[in-house]
Amino acid sequence: MNLLLLLPALLMIGLVFVWPMIRYGWLSFHANSVLTGLNPVPNGGANWIRLLDDQRFWQDALQTTRFAGVSVGLELLLALAIALLLDQRWRGRGVVRALALLPWALPTTMMALGWRWIFNTPYGPLERLNEFVGLGPLNLLSTPMWTWLVTVVADVWKTTPFIALLLLAGLQTIPKDLYSAFRLEGGRPIQALRCITLPLLMPYVLIALLFRGAQAFGVFDLIQVLTGGGPAGSTESVALYAYLNAMRFLDFGYSATAMLAGFLLLTSAMLILAMLLRLSGLMKPVQP
């Protein structure tokens, strides 16, 4: 009976997750490109051997990991500060709460176009400002390092509100009595942050970390529109590479391999992270 009730959910997961994964797995052991007339031809592990030797894939994997790590890290810090601020009572809080969510509601492509405009040299507002204060053109989107930072800034700008909201929900589950009790025990408010707020918020931080980490690792449209993977491929993500292979190069066998490899890397990274967190004792199940 229980199984029967679960069936719709299982079917859904099967359709949207398990089936594509099986399909990718199958495709990754086939050559399927314009050279085979788009017919799948078994080619053993040729795709996987090519992948192991594909410097571009590994560079992309590294770049994507770095992008995800730095963006999500910054997002968590900023979001925590914002959530703490929004959890306090002050005039105009409701308005600010609604406004803070705006970036999250904006479509990624529109936002990426906006950033591209802002950083446009020499006609974007940022460069005009630089010129005004006498810094001269910075050419931010012409250097790999700076371009990478711009992608991080754009991602942080867009998704911090989401994490902030998640953490705010977490903060509001913490009973106010705990803070009162802590003060009467002799603790100052700043100590309460470390002794009560952070430990009790940890489950929410972990949810945000896993959710956003996976999402940031799969970054695609932001990069596609903002930089197209450039300059010199320095901002290309695994998802963008897989997309190029499928939709531009019509090499579906290799695209599936790259996609699957990216997924496996992400999953193992998450597992390692979860294990480290468990070891560090941060992930004790807590129900406030």
């Binding site: 025990e185 002799g186 009560i196 430990p199």
Partner: protein
């Protein structure tokens, strides 16, 4: 000795506590009794320093507390919700405050072990609060308060989350652990029975003001108003209007059978073992009456009471009229 001088607190235009004047002596327990929203918990938060009063002052042993922040007032409070830290074990819960206050590790351990024995929680020391029963959580909260070594104890409805049986069991424990000390204790409750059982004095609060303050006996015998009269004493007092000026109150236990008395009709009857509560229809209105449990009743019933047992109240203001 805790001294409250004209304490008041408002939210916006609305005063939720006003003119609170009170003194709690060393070793004394005063109960703040009232319905919910009467300002009794607010009073505790002001004393603890968690909220700031809008008028009046608080003194402890002759020294004003008003400019001292909550964390340095050395006041212990037991919350209705217990406010135990859910991510810490019992031992860690007890340890946290000591650590923050800079007690040495050796001393910390010794004091925690002692208090764990006192509240009989040694076996539970490594459990998290959510793995404990309500009564056990309550005892952890008491233990934490004891370890604070406070100058005043504030108890905010400490037993209202427990079932009746457990409350009866815990009452002696509470008395032994906290009320026998030398510190003043303020005990907030909405349960008159609990207040009568535990407190040396009771302050009945109504709409943010003290209606009457006195020993349980004083409140029972000479209630200052209809409100106090009906709040104190169970079964509830009978309030019988006489005319536009006068209402008299007569407690159910003061009503007796008297062949010369008023004829009454029995409407219902609650048998409670040693006693029974009768609800009667009398010429002066509905009447509650308490009588011995083994009494067999035969209608028609005739009842009366001594005039000296009557409480006389002004029908308009509800205040007690001079004898």
């Amino acid at each position: 000795m805790l001294h409250l001088n004209g304490l008041g607190k408002r939210f916006g235009e609305q005063w939720i506590l006003r003119d609170l004047n009170m003194q709690v002596d060393e070793g004394e327990c005063v109960a703040l009794l009232g319905t919910s929203g009467c300002g009794k918990s607010t009073a505790l938060r002001l004393i603890a320093g968690l909220d700031r009063q809008d008028e009046g002052s608080i003194e402890l042993d002759g020294e004003p507390l008003d400019s001292i922040p909550a964390e340095r007032r050395r006041i212990a409070m037991v919350f209705q919700s217990y406010a135990l830290f859910p991510h810490l074990s019992v031992r860690e819960n007890l340890n946290l405050g000591l650590k923050i206050r800079g007690v040495s590790p050796a001393q910390r351990q010794q004091r925690i072990e002692t208090v764990l024995d006192t509240v009989r929680l040694r076996e539970m020391a490594d459990r998290r609060p959510q793995q404990l029963s309500g009564g056990q959580r309550q005892r952890v909260a008491l233990a934490r308060a004891l370890l604070r070594d406070p100058r005043v104890y504030l108890l905010d409805e400490p037993m209202s989350n427990l079932d009746a049986q457990l409350r009866d069991d815990l009452r002696p424990e509470l008395r032994q652990l906290i009320l026998q000390g030398t510190q003043p204790v303020l005990y907030v409750t909405h349960d008159q029975q609990e207040a009568m059982a535990l407190a040396n004095r009771i302050a009945v609060l109504k709409d943010g003001r003290i209606e009457q303050i006195g020993t349980p006996e004083e409140l029972y015998k000479t209630p200052a108003s209809q409100f106090v009269a009906s709040f104190i004493g169970r079964p509830q007092i009978n309030l019988l209007p006489v005319d536009k000026q006068l209402t008299i109150g007569i407690r159910p236990e003061d009503v007796g059978f008297d062949p010369e008395g008023m004829p009454c009709r029995l409407i219902s009857r609650e048998w409670q073992g040693a006693s029974q509560l009768l609800l009667l229809d009398s010429p002066r209105g509905a009447l509650r009456m308490l009588c011995a449990g083994d009494l067999s009743l035969s209608e028609p019933l005739h009842v009366s009471w001594l005039t000296s047992a009557e409480h006389r109240f002004d029908a308009g203001s509800g205040h007690r009229l001079a004898e």
